[in-house]
C-alpha cells in the first residue's frame, strides 16, 4: 500500500472516531483540554519555572550553586 493511502486511512480512522464519539467522550475531551491548558499555560508558566534554569545559564553555575547549598548551612 502506498504511504499516502495509509496516511489517508489513519486520518479517517481518527476523524471518524472523533466525529462519532459518545457524550461522555466529548465531556472527557473537554476536561483533558481544559486540564492541559491550566497545567501548561497557567501553572507551568506563572508558578513553576525551573528554579535552577531561571537563575543560572549553564550547568557549571547550577552545580556550584547546589554544592553551595549542600555544604553551607543557610
Amino acid at each position: 500500500m502506498k504511504p499516502l493511502i495509509i496516511l489517508r486511512k489513519i486520518w479517517f480512522f481518527y476523524y471518524e472516531g472523533f466525529v462519532h464519539q459518545k457524550e461522555w467522550s466529548r465531556q472527557v475531551w473537554f476536561i483533558i483540554i481544559l486540564k492541559l491548558f491550566i497545567m501548561f499555560f497557567i501553572l507551568k508558566f506563572f508558578f513553576f519555572p525551573n528554579f535552577l534554569k531561571s537563575k543560572y545559564s549553564n550547568d557549571k553555575d547550577r552545580g556550584d550553586y547546589v554544592i553551595e547549598q549542600l555544604t553551607n548551612p543557610k
Binding site: 459518545k22 467522550s25 472527557v28 483533558i32 501553572l43 508558578f47 519555572p49 535552577l52 549542600l70 543557610k74
Partner: protein, 516 residues
C-alpha cells in the same frame, strides 16, 4: 538544620503529597482495569459471544473516563521537582533522566496509538488486532509505571551510581543495577499487583450495585467472576511481594521497618503486632515514640517475616540509633557515628571545591578521598540529634496496619464473591453486595496507605542516607507554594468530582445503552 525555613519545607511536602495522592487515585484503576478489560475481550475473541463484547465495552468506557481524567496529572509532580525541589532534582538528575525519558516516549507512543484502536477500532480493525491493541494498552500503561517506580526505588535504595563532586550530580554507573535493584523490583511488583486488586474490587463493587438493584444480573455475575479470579490471584501476589518487600526493607531501610511495626527495642524472636493502639503519651519522653495502650502480638512472626528465622534478631529504633550487629555479624554504626562521618563528607566536598578554585591539587585529592570514604553517610551530616532520623512512627505504623488489614479483607472478599456466584446465591446476599460496594473506597484507602508507609516511613530522607528532605527544597517564596497548593487542591478536586459524576452517569446508563 534549625536555620531552615520549616514553613517552606512543610508546604512543599504538603503540596507534593497532595498532588501525588490525587495522581494515585487515577493510576491504579487504569493499571488494573486495563488487564481486566483485556481478559474480558480475550473471552469475547475466543467464544465470539456478543455478551462478552458488551461487557468489555462497558468496562472500557469506565476505563476511558478514568484514564482521560487522570492523564497528565503526574506531570505536575515533574513541575514541582524543577521548582520546589531543585537541589534534589539536580542531585539525582542523571539517574532519573533515563527512566523518565523512556517512560515519556513509551507512554506517548503506546497510549496514543493503541488506546485509539481500543476506542475507535471496533468494527474497523480485525478482532485480533483490536485484542492485541487492548493487551498492548494494558502492558504499556504498566511499563510506564515501571520506570516511575524504578526511580522511586532508587530514592529508597540508591544503587548503581557514583557521586560526581565536580557537578554535584549522581551519575549512573550501571543501568541494570538501578533497574533490577531488589527495592525497585519489589516496589514495582507490589505496587502494580495492589493496583490490579483495587481494579478488581472496583469491578466487583460496581457489579454488586447492579445486583442490589436487580439490574443487568447476567452481566454483573460474569464481571464478578472475571474480577474475583483476577483479584484473588493478584491479591495473593500482593501478599507475596509485600512479604519480599519486608525482607528487603529490614535490610536496606531498617528504621522504616521498625517504624512500621512500632518496634522501639529490638529482640531475638520478635513478635508481629497484628493489632495495636498507641497512647498519647510516651514513657521515654520522645513524643515520636508513643507507648502502646493495647496490642495483640503474634510471637516470633516478625523475626520470621524479616529473616525467615523465627529466632532472628530484629533491630528496633533504639538499636539503630545506638548501633547494632545484625544476624550476619555485620556491625552497623550508631547514628552519632554516622553523623560524624556525614559531617566529614560534607566538609570534604566543601574543601574539594575550595581546593579546585585555588588549584591546590594535594588538598583536592585528600578531600576527595575523605568524601568517597564517608559518602555513604553524607546525609547524616545535616543532623545534630540522632532521633531526627526517626520517621513519624504513629502514622507509619497505622498506615501499614490499615493496608495489611484491608488487604486481608480483600482476599476474603474475592473468595466469598466466587463462592456466592458459583452457589448462585450472590443476588440474595445483600450484606455482601453492600460490603462489596463499600470496599471500593476501602481499596483506595489501602492503596494510599501503602504509599504513606513508603514515603512517610523513609523520612527524613528524600534519598536514603544521602539527602534529607530538608536539604532537597529550593530556596523559594513560601507564599507561592501555598498558592499553588490551594490551586492544585481546587483543580484536582474538580477533576475528581468530574470523574465521579461522569462515571456514575455511565454506570446508571448501564452496559446496554452505553459503550463508545
Amino acid at each position: 538544620m534549625e536555620n531552615f525555613d520549616m514553613s517552606l519545607v512543610d508546604w512543599s511536602r504538603a503540596q507534593f503529597a497532595l498532588t501525588a495522592m490525587y495522581h494515585w487515585i487515577f493510576v491504579p484503576l487504569t493499571l488494573g482495569l486495563a488487564f481486566i478489560i483485556a481478559i474480558m475481550e480475550t473471552i469475547y475473541y475466543k467464544t465470539g459471544n456478543l455478551e462478552w463484547k458488551k461487557i468489555t465495552k462497558f468496562w472500557m468506557t469506565l476505563f476511558g473516563i478514568n484514564f482521560a481524567i487522570g492523564v497528565a496529572t503526574g506531570i505536575i509532580l515533574e513541575f514541582e521537582f524543577g521548582t520546589n525541589w531543585s537541589n534534589y532534582s539536580w542531585f539525582v538528575g542523571d539517574i532519573f533522566g533515563a527512566p523518565l525519558a523512556i517512560e515519556g516516549i513509551m507512554a506517548f507512543f503506546m497510549e496514543s496509538t493503541f488506546i485509539a484502536v481500543m476506542f475507535f477500532g471496533w468494527n474497523k480493525v480485525s478482532k485480533k488486532f483490536h485484542l492485541i491493541s487492548t493487551w498492548l494498552v494494558a502492558v504499556g500503561s504498566n511499563l510506564s509505571a515501571l520506570w516511575i517506580l524504578v526511580a522511586n526505588g532508587w530514592m529508597q535504595n540508591p544503587v548503581g551510581m557514583q557521586f560526581n563532586p565536580d557537578t554535584a550530580r549522581n551519575e549512573m554507573l550501571n543501568f541494570w543495577e538501578v533497574l533490577f535493584s531488589p527495592t525497585a523490583v519489589n516496589k514495582f511488583l507490589h505496587t502494580i499487583s495492589s493496583a490490579y486488586t483495587l481494579a478488581a474490587i472496583f469491578v466487583i463493587g460496581v457489579s454488586s450495585w447492579y445486583l442490589l438493584k436487580k439490574l443487568n444480573v447476567a452481566f454483573a455475575k460474569k464481571s464478578i467472576v472475571v474480577a474475583a479470579v483476577f483479584g484473588l490471584i493478584t491479591s495473593l501476589f500482593t501478599v507475596m511481594t509485600g512479604d519480599n518487600s519486608a525482607r528487603e526493607i529490614v535490610r536496606d531501610q531498617p528504621m522504616k521497618f521498625a517504624a512500621m511495626e512500632g518496634l522501639y527495642d529490638g529482640s531475638e524472636g520478635a513478635g508481629l503486632v497484628a493489632l495495636g493502639f498507641m497512647s498519647s503519651s510516651s514513657e521515654s519522653g520522645n513524643e515520636n515514640m508513643k507507648d502502646f495502650n493495647f496490642k495483640i502480638e503474634i510471637p516470633n512472626l516478625l523475626s520470621y517475616m524479616a529473616y525467615m528465622d523465627k529466632n532472628a534478631f530484629v533491630p528496633g529504633v533504639n538499636d539503630i540509633i545506638n548501633g547494632y550487629t545484625d544476624n550476619e555479624g555485620e556491625v552497623h554504626p550508631s547514628v552519632n557515628e554516622k553523623i560524624v562521618m556525614g559531617q566529614k563528607a560534607i566538609l570534604a566536598l566543601k574543601n574539594y571545591k575550595l581546593a579546585q578554585k585555588e588549584e591546590d591539587t594535594e588538598l583536592a585529592q585528600s578531600s576527595l578521598a575523605v568524601l568517597n570514604e564517608n559518602f555513604k553517610y553524607f546525609g547524616y551530616g545535616y543532623f545534630n540529634d540522632p532521633y531526627d532520623v526517626v520517621p513519624p512512627i504513629s502514622i507509619t505504623f497505622y498506615s501499614f496496619h490499615i493496608m495489611v488489614g484491608l488487604g486481608m479483607w480483600f482476599l476474603l472478599l474475592f473468595v466469598l464473591a466466587l463462592l456466592f456466584v458459583f452457589k448462585e446465591t450472590i443476588v440474595n446476599r445483600k450484606w455482601f453486595l453492600r460490603a462489596a460496594i463499600w470496599s471500593i473506597p476501602l481499596a483506595y484507602i489501602a492503596s494510599q496507605s501503602g504509599w504513606i508507609v513508603a514515603e512517610m516511613g523513609r523520612q527524613p530522607w528524600v534519598i536514603q542516607d544521602l539527602m534529607p528532605t530538608l536539604r532537597a527544597v529550593s530556596n523559594i517564596d513560601t507564599t507561592s507554594v501555598k498558592i499553588t497548593f490551594f490551586l492544585f487542591l481546587i483543580v484536582f478536586t474538580g477533576l475528581l468530582i468530574a470523574e465521579i459524576k461522569i462515571m456514575l452517569k455511565q454506570i446508571k446508563i448501564g452496559p446496554n445503552h452505553g459503550g463508545h
